[in-house]
C-alpha cells in the first residue's frame, strides 16, 4: 500500500487541540445510552475567494470553518449534534445530545483507536492553491477576464472568480477507526454577456477540480475559460428557441453526464432504495436498459472534483458499477444503508460539512463508452435536437426528471443546423434508459465545476458520458 505523499498533509486538523484520549472519552459518552455505533467527524476548512468584475478586482474573501459532528446510531435511528465551540463541556453536552436517541440496556464501549491511512491519493498535486499567494490567483482571474473581454466587441460584461479551499477531515469511530483526509478543491469560472441589437445572452465556462495551480498551465488555461464563456454567449445571440414536442434527441459527450446524474444516479443512492421510495428498489439484478449500457460511479479518479481518499464516514471508496450490460448491479452505499441492507459500504457516505449527517451521494458518475462513431449517431437522425450545454437538472424519487439545456442545435437531415437555446428536456428514468439507442465511443467528462444538492446538502461532483442517442424525448420550447 502506497501512502499519500501529498504536499498537503500538514496536520492542520490539530487546530481542534484534541488527542486520541479525548476522542475516546467523547465516544464513550456518546455510547453511554446504549447506541450501537458512535462517530466523531472533525473538520477544518479554509476558503479563499477572488472576484473580478467591471475591470477591477472587486473583492477578496477568506473563510474559516471549524467544528465537529457527533453521530450515534441505534438500529435505524440516528442522533446527531455538532459544535464549533470545542471546549470539553460543549463536547460532552453534544455527545450526550447525540446519545439520547438510544435507550438500550446493552451498553457498548468504544474500541481502542487505531490510526489508519487512506490507500490511494486522488490529489497528487504540486502547487496547492492555499499555499500560493493571492497575487498568483489574482493573475489567473485577470487572464480569464481579459480573454473573455477581448474576444469580441459584442462582449458587454464579464465576471470572473476563483474559489479555492482545503478541507481537513478526520473521522474517528467506536469501531476504533481514525483516519484523515486533506482535500484540495479549486474552481475558476467565467461568465460573459454578449449584446447585439438590444438582445443579450450569457455564456459560462469554468474548470478546476482537486488540482493544484499547475492545472491552469497545462490542462485548461484561464484564457481558454474566458474564450469559451465569450464564445457561448455569442453563439446564443444567434440561437432561436427550439420547437416544442417529442423528437429524437442526441446528447453531446461530457456535459450531458448531467442526464445520467439526474435520471439514474440519484435513484441508485441506497437510502432511497432501502426506504423503497426509488423506482429501482425492487429491480436489483434486472435488465433495465439495453445491454450496451454500463454506468459507474468512481470516487478515485485522480484530480476530479467528485473524488476523495476517504468518504465522510472514513470508508475507503471504490469504483462502483451501477448498471452493467444493461442490468442493475449496484447501489451507492453509506454505512447505515449498507448495514440495514446487509451490503458492503462502497464509500459513498458524504456530507456537506460538520453540521450534516452523512448520506449516500454520487461522486464522479458516468456512462462508459460504447461502439458508435459520434458522427454516425448524428447522421442517423433525420429531424431532432442536439443538446450541448446545460444549466442543471432535477429528479424526483418517482423517476420524473428534467434537465435544462442552455445551448444546442437542431438536427436536420443528419446534420447539426441552427443553434438553439433555453430548452427543457423531461422524461421518466426507466423509460429513458430503454430509449438510449446508441452509445458513442467518445466518453468525456463535463466541466469540473458542478455541485449536486440533496436534502439541502451541497457536494462537489463530476459526471460524464459519450455521445448518446435517445429515441424520443419531450423537448420544451416555443
Amino acid at each position: 500500500m502506497e501512502k499519500p505523499t501529498s504536499a498537503l498533509l500538514t496536520g492542520d486538523i490539530d487546530h481542534l487541540d484534541l488527542d486520541d484520549q479525548d476522542y475516546q472519552k467523547i465516544l464513550d459518552i456518546a455510547l453511554s445510552q446504549g447506541g450501537d455505533f458512535a462517530e466523531i467527524f472533525c473538520e477544518y476548512r479554509l476558503y479563499s475567494f477572488i472576484n473580478m468584475e467591471e475591470d477591477i478586482i472587486k473583492e477578496t474573501a477568506e473563510s474559516i470553518s471549524l467544528g465537529l459532528g457527533i453521530r450515534v446510531i441505534s438500529g435505524e435511528i440516528t442522533g446527531y449534534a455538532y459544535a464549533n465551540d470545542t471546549s470539553p463541556i460543549k463536547l460532552k453536552k453534544a455527545a450526550l445530545t447525540a446519545a439520547s436517541i438510544a435507550s438500550s440496556q446493552e451498553k457498548h464501549k468504544a474500541a481502542p483507536i487505531i490510526p489508519e491511512q487512506p490507500v490511494h491519493n486522488a490529489y497528487p498535486i504540486l502547487q496547492p492553491a492555499h499555499k500560493k499567494s493571492l497575487e498568483d490567483k489574482i493573475d489567473l482571474v485577470r487572464r480569464a477576464y481579459m480573454a473573455a473581454q477581448n474576444y469580441d466587441p459584442k462582449i458587454q460584461k464579464v465576471k470572473t472568480s476563483i474559489l479555492d479551499m482545503v478541507q481537513h477531515v478526520r473521522v474517528i469511530n467506536s469501531e476504533g477507526l481514525s483516519i484523515t483526509d486533506v482535500r484540495p478543491l479549486i474552481k475558476l469560472t467565467c461568465f460573459a454577456i454578449a449584446e447585439k441589437h438590444n438582445q443579450r445572452e450569457a455564456g459560462y465556462h469554468g474548470g478546476g477540480g482537486r488540482v493544484g495551480l499547475e492545472y491552469f498551465q497545462e490542462d485548461l488555461t484561464p484564457e481558454r475559460i474566458g474564450e469559451e464563456a465569450a464564445k457561448e454567449s455569442l453563439h446564443l445571440l444567434e440561437a432561436a428557441l427550439p420547437p416544442a414536442g417529442e423528437m429524437p434527441v442526441v446528447l453531446a459527450p461530457g456535459h450531458s453526464g448531467v442526464l445520467i446524474h439526474e435520471a439514474v444516479g440519484h435513484l441508485l443512492e441506497a437510502d432511497f432504495n432501502r426506504k423503497k421510495t426509488s423506482v429501482f428498489w425492487n429491480k436489483m439484478g434486472q435488465q433495465v436498459a439495453k445491454s450496451s449500457l454500463n454506468i459507474y460511479d468512481d470516487p478515485t479518479i485522480p484530480y476530479f472534483r467528485g473524488s476523495y481518499n476517504i468518504d465522510d464516514e472514513g470508508t475507503i471508496p471504490q469504483k462502483t458499477p451501477l448498471i452493467r450490460e444493461g442490468r442493475l448491479v449496484g447501489l451507492l452505499q453509506d454505512r447505515l444503508s449498507a448495514k440495514l441492507m446487509q451490503a458492503t459500504a462502497t464509500g459513498h457516505g458524504r456530507r456537506q460539512d460538520y453540521t450534516c449527517i452523512p448520506i449516500p451521494r454520487m461522486s464522479n458518475t458516468y456512462i462508459d463508452k460504447g461502439e458508435y462513431d459520434p458522427e454516425e449517431i448524428i447522421k442517423s437522425v433525420g429531424k431532432g435536437f442536439y443538446a450541448h450545454k446545460y444549466q442543471g437538472g432535477q429528479v424526483e424519487d418517482s423517476g420524473k426528471f428534467t434537465f435544462s439545456v442552455s445551448s444546442g442545435f437542431l438536427i436536420e437531415g443528419g446534420k447539426l443546423t441552427s443553434p438553439v437555446k433555453q430548452a427543457t428536456l423531461i422524461g421518466t428514468n426507466i423509460d429513458i434508459l430503454n430509449k438510449i439507442e446508441k452509445i458513442g465511443h467518445d466518453l468525456q467528462f463535463g466541466l469540473q465545476t458542478g455541485t449536486c444538492g440533496k436534502e439541502g446538502q451541497a457536494a462537489p461532483v463530476t459526471d460524464g458520458c459519450p455521445t448518446l442517442k435517445i429515441t424520443r424525448m419531450t423537448v420544451g420550447g416555443q
Binding site: K58, E62, A81, L241, E246, V279, D397, G476, Q478
Partner: protein, 449 residues
C-alpha cells in the same frame, strides 16, 4: 437571557471590540456580524425517529474597507487569537483589491424600529420540548398513513431554530435582535410500482400558534399527492394556464432575481433599462415589505444595518424600484432599500397584492387549459427573462378538472407573462417570504407529445 444560547450576550462586546481592533490595524471602515443559532430537527418515518439533530453554533462575518478597497472574511472559530489573525490578514488583503469609489458602509443612520413590535421572537418556540416536537412530527405522518391511497412516506419533519443576530460597524451602528422559526413538513407517495406519484406540504412560521396543525398538513399533503394519480400526456399546444398560489411564488422568485439591484448593475437582468416603464398588467402591484409584524421575511435591519422598509417594486404595472444594498444603490444612483444580504440582496416579504376573484371562479373560467401545480428543474434566465421548466398540472375542460398531466414542460418569457395576466385571485397568504395569489395567464406554450 435567551433559552438555549447562554453565551450570546457576549456577542455585542466581541463585535464592538473587533471593530476597534480592525480600525487599529489600519481599516478605514469595519463591519462585524455575529450570528448565533440553536437548531433542533427531527425526521420521523413510518412512526419511528429516523434522525434527530440538536446543535448550537455561531459564526462571524467581517467586512474591511481601506482606501476604497474591500476585503471580506468569515469564521466559525471565534477564539480571539484566530479572529485577530483573520482581521490582520483581511486588512493586508484589502490592498490587493482595486479601489472602487462605490465601496463603503452605509452612512450612520438613526435606528428607528421598535424591534419588539416586529414580533420576531416567540418564547413558546424556544421552550418547546424535544418530546413535543417528536410527537408533532409523528402525529402528522400517522394521520397521513391512515389513508389507504398513500403507499409510502418520505417522512415528516419538525424543526425549530432560535437565532440571535448582532451587527456592529465603525459608523457607530451597534444592534442585535432575536428571532424564532418553527416548521412542520410531510412528503408522501401514492400509486403502484411504476406509476408512483409524490408531493409535499409544509408550514413554516415564526410563532408556534400560527403553525398549521398535523391534521391540516396531513390533509393538504394527501390531497396534493393523490391528485397526481393516473396522469396523462397531452399534445404540444398553447393554452391558458392557471398558476396555483405556490406557482405564483416561483414566478415572483424569478421576478425578484430580475429586480435585484445587484443583477441590474451587473447587467444580468432583462429589466435593467425599464425603471419607470410599464412592464406589467395595470392590475399588478408588487411590494417588498420588511416590516409586517411576525412574518417570515420581516426584519428590523438588513445585513449592513440599513432599516428594513416597504418598497413598491411594481405599482399598477409600472416598475418603480429595484431592490438594493448600499453598493448597488451607489452604482445605480438610487437609495438602498434595506435588502442587503452579504454582497447580494435578499427579499423581505416580496408579494403580489391580491385581486378580487375566487380561485375556483378562475378555474371555472377555463374552457380548455392547464392548472400548473408543480414545476421541476432550473430553466430560468434572468438575462432574457426566458423560462422553461418541467411541469405537473391538472387539465381543465369546460371549467372542470378532467385529469392530471405529467411529463410536460412549460416555457415562456417573464416579460410577456407579466403583461398577459387575465385574472388575479383573492387568495394571498404569507406562507413563504415570496408569495402571491392564484393567477391566470392568457396563454403559455406547453410541450408534450
Amino acid at each position: 437571557m435567551m433559552p438555549g444560547t447562554e453565551t450570546e450576550p457576549k456577542h455585542m462586546d466581541l463585535a464592538e471590540s473587533l471593530v476597534s481592533y480592525a480600525r487599529k490595524e489600519g481599516a478605514d471602515e469595519v463591519e462585524v456580524a455575529i450570528v448565533g443559532s440553536t437548531e433542533f430537527n427531527v425526521d420521523i418515518r413510518h412512526g419511528e425517529i429516523e434522525n434527530l439533530i440538536e446543535a448550537g453554533s455561531r459564526s462571524l462575518g467581517l467586512r474591511i474597507i481601506k482606501g476604497q478597497r474591500t476585503a471580506y472574511a468569515s469564521s466559525s472559530d471565534l477564539s480571539k487569537d484566530s479572529l485577530h489573525r483573520l482581521i490582520s490578514r483581511a486588512v493586508k488583503r484589502a490592498d490587493l483589491s482595486s479601489p472602487d469609489s462605490c465601496a463603503g458602509l452605509p452612512a450612520a443612520q438613526r435606528f428607528g424600529h421598535n424591534i419588539a413590535a416586529l414580533n420576531l421572537f416567540d418564547p413558546q418556540v424556544a421552550e418547546l420540548s424535544p418530546e413535543s416536537k417528536i410527537e408533532l412530527a409523528k402525529k402528522t405522518e400517522h394521520i397521513a398513513l391512515q389513508d389507504k391511497r398513500i403507499v409510502n412516506s418520505h417522512g415528516s419533519t419538525c424543526e425549530t431554530r432560535i437565532i440571535k443576530t448582532t451587527l456592529a460597524n465603525s459608523n457607530g451602528f451597534s444592534q442585535s435582535y432575536n428571532e424564532t422559526y418553527c416548521g412542520l413538513s410531510l412528503g408522501l407517495q401514492a400509486g403502484q410500482t411504476d406509476e408512483i406519484v409524490e408531493d409535499y406540504w409544509s408550514s413554516s412560521k415564526r410563532h408556534f400558534d400560527e403553525l398549521e396543525t398535523p391534521e391540516d398538513i396531513a390533509a393538504r399533503c394527501i390531497a396534493r399527492t393523490v391528485r397526481h394519480l393516473h396522469p396523462r400526456k397531452i399534445p404540444t399546444q398553447q393554452v391558458p394556464v392557471v398558476f396555483e398560489s405556490t406557482m405564483t411564488s416561483w414566478l415572483l422568485g424569478f421576478l425578484f432575481a430580475c429586480v435585484s439591484g445587484v443583477s441590474v448593475y451587473q447587467k444580468t437582468s432583462f429589466l435593467q433599462d425599464k425603471l419607470g416603464e410599464h412592464i406589467a398588467d395595470n392590475r399588478l402591484t408588487i411590494y417588498d415589505d420588511g416590516l409586517i409584524p411576525g412574518l417570515l421575511g420581516t426584519t428590523p435591519f438588513d445585513s449592513e444595518g440599513v432599516p428594513a422598509q416597504k418598497t413598491a417594486v411594481v405599482d399598477q404595472g409600472i416598475l418603480t424600484n429595484f431592490l438594493c444594498n448600499t453598493y448597488a444603490a451607489k452604482k445605480l444612483k438610487l437609495r438602498s432599500t434595506g435588502n442587503a444580504e452579504g454582497t447580494g440582496v435578499a427579499p423581505h416579504n416580496f408579494y403580489l397584492e391580491a385581486g378580487s376573484t375566487q380561485p375556483d371562479q378562475i378555474i371555472s373560467s377555463l374552457d380548455k387549459g392547464l392548472i400548473l401545480i408543480r414545476t421541476l428543474g432550473h430553466g430560468l434566465n434572468p438575462v432574457t427573462g426566458d423560462f422553461s421548466r418541467g411541469a405537473y398540472g391538472l387539465w381543465v375542460e369546460k371549467g372542470e378538472i378532467a385529469y392530471p398531466v405529467a411529463e410536460i414542460t412549460i416555457s415562456g418569457n417573464l416579460g410577456s407573462v407579466l403583461r398577459n395576466i387575465d385574472m388575479i385571485g383573492n387568495d394571498l397568504e404569507f406562507r413563504t417570504p415570496i408569495c402571491g395569489p392564484t393567477l391566470k395567464i392568457h396563454d403559455l406554450m406547453i410541450a408534450g407529445t
